[in-house]
């Protein structure tokens, strides 16, 4: 049988929803014998915009960038450990820029065939400028997108999910 997805990307942003998405992606990658990459984008675009508008001073830009870089490393390491628990080597990518644009670029350049994201927030505004980053990704991804909802169920399933047992190629 030809598996439909061989290269999976999960988007992490430090939210509980994105960690749940990573758990679901690990289980799915093991089931499909696919590769899994986790990506965290430090939103330096927003930081630069805030400095340009003088909402932030330069020292604030540097301080917040350091904070978020630290979060990125922490969450990527956490997902790598989750993968190890289930016998999967998760590749991790930390990058920076405009979040949805960077994710879309990575999807295109690396022939990713499935993007996994955490739950979308409810539709609160019809204004384009108020779309969340995950909303933007959902709309701009050049590949199928899996939206993971219901954190509790995913966490329960992850607990009992078997480790990888990959077939010989």
């Amino acid at each position: 049988m030809v598996e439909p997805f061989k290269e999976i990307l999960v988007y992490l942003d430090g939210s509980e929803d994105s960690v749940s998405a990573a758990m679901a992606a690990i289980m799915l990658a093991n089931r499909l014998e696919a590769s899994l990459t986790a990506i965290y984008v430090v939103n330096t675009r927003a930081l630069r915009d805030l400095v340009s508008a003088r909402i932030f001073l330069e020292f604030e830009e540097q301080e917040y960038q350091r904070d978020i870089e630290g979060d990125a490393i922490r969450y990527l390491n956490h997902v790598k450990e989750l993968g190890q628990q289930k016998g999967l080597d998760v590749k991790t990518i930390k990058t920076s820029g405009a979040v949805s644009a960077e994710v879309t670029k990575y999807l295109q350049e690396n022939n990713i065939d499935l993007l996994v994201i955490g739950g979308l927030s409810e539709i609160r505004s019809r204004r384009d400028e108020l779309l969340s980053e995950t909303d933007r990704m959902l709309r701009s991804a050049p590949c199928p997108v899996l939206v993971v909802r219901d954190n509790d169920e995913i966490w329960d399933k992850f607990e009992i999910a078997p480790s990888a047992t990959r077939s010989e190629k």
Partner: protein, 148 residues
């Protein structure tokens, strides 16, 4: 996270009655504390004024986004205020500020804090939006601008 995720009807003040920069900040924080009485009013005022001493958050075109990251809040808080007339706020264009978006964030929420601030900047960047803000007479009017 965007302004749409954190804006609350009960945290919108129209009109702002203070006539000074410090007065506006105190008035908006007083509104916040009236809704969330567990917060330390003086600590919040100190945090925002301390940030203002580093550089004014009065921007251009009547927009001001006073903000601070402080352990005195446990979740991101946004208080919106609209004054009838521009108020001196040390703004970049030398004109007064009329539309105030006060944002307070806990220490550990840098990412959400940045996203909320950036979304306010994007939402208020159009002259059309600012005209509608100026015409807003109630909290419901402001909510309609964001959500509709």
């Amino acid at each position: 996270m965007t302004i749409a995720d954190v804006i609350k009807k009960e945290l919108i003040k129209i009109p702002v009655v203070a006539t000074t920069k410090t007065g506006v900040i105190e008035e908006l924080i007083d509104l916040l504390v009236s809704v969330r009485p567990n917060l330390d009013r003086d600590e919040l005022v100190s945090a925002v004024l301390a940030r203002e001493t580093l550089g004014s958050t009065g921007l251009v075109d009547g927009i001001a986004i006073p903000h601070a990251k402080t352990a005195a809040v446990d979740s991101i808080a946004l208080v919106v205020g609209i004054a009838k007339e521009p108020i001196e706020f040390d703004s970049q264009d030398g004109k007064g500020s009329q539309f105030f978006f006060l944002v307070l964030a806990p220490e550990q929420e840098s990412r959400s804090y940045i996203e909320v601030l950036a979304s306010i900047a994007r939402a208020t960047n159009s002259s059309y939006m600012r005209r509608l803000l100026a015409a807003s007479e109630s909290a419901d009017d402001v909510l309609a601008l964001i959500f509709n």
